[in-house]
Amino acid sequence: MLINKNQVIVSGLLALGIAGFGVATALQFNDRIEYRIGNRIESNPAWLVPPKAEFKSLERGYGGLKILLALLGTGGMVAVMLIARSEGQQEPIRQKIKGYQNQAYEFSHAAESAYQMAKTQMEYKKLLEADEVAFEGEIETAYCESLGIDPNQQQPALTGTATLDSATNPSSKVNDAPVSAIEPNKYAYIKGFVSSTCLCWGNQGGGKSWFVRHLVCEKLKLGYRVIVFDPNSNQASWEGVELYNSYAEIERMMRWYVDEVMERYTEFCASTFTEEDWRKQLWEQGKAISIICEEATTYADFIEDGELLVKFVKVANTLSRKQEMPVTFVTHNNTQTCFGNIKGLGNVIARMQQIELIPTTDKNSPTAQPIASGKAFIKTDGSDKWVEVETPKIESKITDFRGFQGQKKQPISISEKPSGTVGNVPAQDTINAGNPDETPTVDLEALLTNVLTEVSPPVFSSDFAPLEHSERVQLARLVIAQNLGKEKTILLLWGARPGGRNHAMYTEARAMLERLIKGEE
């Protein structure tokens, strides 16, 4: 099979060269004289003709043609030799490249198959979840019917971790107010932003602040205690919620927030609660706190402790959910610059749950001011997919939140202490500072953040920060409480992976992990 066009050229030149040599060889070079001598007729070059011979005819020689053909044939053969040698050197390289191309094709095929498999798996999972939801709905309907309740009748809104059981017993957590007038399906996505840490961003006039105020109402209705950091505002704009409007106070509250989350983790690890019970208890004790960070882009310029800001953002994103302390950040964009271009936050921001509010131009305004378009794009935590949604229509900016507060008063210490700051804001010395002995000597929360982000070496390695064994165990329990899966936890604590030559180390680490989970040291 013809693979290379040079094959034709070489074959042709070789054939022409051979033909040229053949002709050049066959032809006679000199003229010959045909003569008769006696009875014989012979032909010989002139110098061999005997003097007595009788001339008959002259046979022409082809010396010139022979030389020409010989030279052309030689040229053709030299060309054949050079082309063939060059191709012969290049051919193994071509074969290698072809092999690599085949490998690349196979790899691409495998990757495509893996992608299709993952896609099918995802679709299957979604179908399964949808099936489960439908099944739960059927159970709920049957249960309501057994209690004599019309399942289609509008039910009171459930607050906190209220269950169906608690809904039938209105003495606990029932908010008698009807569900918001907003169409439930259209704005169902908002629920995801109420109880999770999220980033709310967009250009000026997009409606970020209005949307966030709506979120605050929803949070208050749900029973959250809402704390607002808004450096450009005053208490009149946030009636009924705790406001911190100076950077010094915001910094202090950030520190409190980080400490509070880590302290809760310490308590949780020392307790025997399941995660569900622990969260339920937090709601019952009124410890579900939500922070609103308005104008978060400016924090980096005015908050002196940059590390605290990084830690605050990381803790809010990674550790707040289980402790019911979600944070809503309001910024102008969703790049690393949204927190003042602080390094190390790029990945954290990229994975956050986000909503982008889209502004439009007010056609009625002579200055064409930007106004909210009622459109937004949302992205869930860890996903890369943006979905267009509608934002709730709000007639006027909400400034008074007193009517939205849940019935249960938050008994957490920070709010009940008298404060010398704006409104009912607590002073820092009342926050987590009653007993200095309780303050841990080692900054475990910072270490935990470093371990989770894999900035530091494994906890039980010799390269890790010098800690007492008990402190390491305490830190290890905090890591275990993250529910990262055994493999990941072992990697973070001992740096061992399954398989390979270090499998024995992994097995040992796994045994130690089991002991730690059981409560042994």
Partner: protein
Amino acid sequence: MLSQDFDTSEFDYLNAGNFAQAEQQPQSKTTEITNIERFWNLTGNWGEFGSYFGAGLSASLVVRAIPALIPSAVILIPASALGLGLYALSADGPSKVRSQLILIAVATALLAGNWDAWQAWILANSQLLILSFALIVITLVFVGTQVWSKLSNVNQ
């Protein structure tokens, strides 16, 4: 016997064996030559032979066309052939093959390309050639007989 019953106290695990024994040994990979590579090798070799053949043929024809070059050719061609022949005897590897190839290609070109000249030469010197041939044959037969008779006597 269970593994814990086996006395391993004197067993030197560290020097028990060579890890390389259990691992895959490096194997000499035979290079596979594809058909296209064979084609390039073959055409390359024939091209080289043709180049030498063509060079010899062209040179000999040019000498015949310009009779003034004949004396120098008569000296240079045998001298070059002798030099190349000696080199072919002493060299090794590709150089030896290449020098032999040049000798064969040029000799073939000189003989085949000038067949008419050789024919005329043989005709012109036929009597001398026949005498020379007869002398050679007689000499060889005589020497051969003598050697054979001497060797036969030694055996007796």
